[in-house]
Symmetry: C2
Subunit: 198 residues, 2 copies
Amino acid sequence: MQTEAKQLLLDFIHQMIPNMQVSSESLRLIADKFEVHNLSRHEFLLKEGKISGYYYLAEGFLRAFTFDSEGNEITTGFYGSGHVVFEASSFFLHRPSTESIQAIHDCKGFYTNFEQLNGLFHNVPAFREFGRAVLVKEFVRYKEQTLAMINKSAEARYADFMESNREIFQYAQLKHIASFLGITDTSLSRIRRDFAKK
Amino acid sequence: MQTEAKQLLLDFIHQMIPNMQVSSESLRLIADKFEVHNLSRHEFLLKEGKISGYYYLAEGFLRAFTFDSEGNEITTGFYGSGHVVFEASSFFLHRPSTESIQAIHDCKGFYTNFEQLNGLFHNVPAFREFGRAVLVKEFVRYKEQTLAMINKSAEARYADFMESNREIFQYAQLKHIASFLGITDTSLSRIRRDFAKK
DNA sequence: GAAGCAACTTGCCATTTGACAAGAAAAGAA
DNA sequence: TTCTTTTCTTGTCAAATGGCAAGTTGCTTC
């Protein structure tokens, strides 16, 4: 069902492994193991304490967050269309997640779990390559994000965020962007005031 | 040369993919692509601006660091024996590293680069699985480390670090541990004073 | 061993940052 | 639409944190 909608997923797979031929039989096997999963704004893809699945986000925006030692909600990531979204520790170790992931805009995508994904790795060689490419992409992305927290000032991180995430910036709340940048909403407000002056 | 020394590497590979049979021919291929690489204390495995390789640390201790926007050195990771050490962004994207990696104790290990590793992935199927396992392990490790920075207080992170890294704690300088924990050496000193009181 | 250097601790002070609160603006519900 | 709730901004204030400097300890090197 909804196989035509899954074309988005198959296109994405092809795009992640451009050098590999994938038979239509393999594509069918892959599409079968993902199910259409849409979210409306504020709905959760993953709740703290649950075990993360593997979600290809075809359309919409998501936000991951956790809590600091004083109980403040801290945003750990934003995701736009074209990303595979999962919480690595929870997904690979089958452990309860300390992060939650929530839609900040209506989302369309395709969902699967560890077992199904492992089955595909086993049965569809080209899909292993896809899995590896996703892993590399997300690891690199996460390292760059965390290193920027060290290397750049809050002002610079804010400027970069606005610049390279124009779309997400439209939908995310400022308080969520603030905690993502490692500051409070108060401080972000002051940074924005100073930016506006120039 | 030094093939007998490389047994440590081969043992490690076997341990990372316990369910797979690897022919002795394959093992030879793998061992050939790694070269023995030892470091004395204070020597660099990777310098900022260079492109990261792939290093299996058989013995010794390493420290990764970068600089914040005010020029302070910030330690981003410690590594003990049994770890594969590389800077993900630099290694996978062939880009100059923003981190440096330095020995904090004499090290023995085995080194290779992206091209050699890719060749192995191509020629030795079981090694692909090893590469994937390493990637998962390091990604999970890094996520847990960065989430702990949010979820736990500096005191708790210090207690955890002492508890689960007794060996590294022996060799690492307190100022390096301090920046790893996200605080200054001054603050760590005060935390230690308070810990000692109880 | 002695001298020199680096690491660690501690006190004092300045500054940044966040907490809190009040008001304005925007978004959502009825 | 109007009412209600949430978000955002801005001010004041308090507190945590870091910078700096001095003193001590412990390594290293000659």
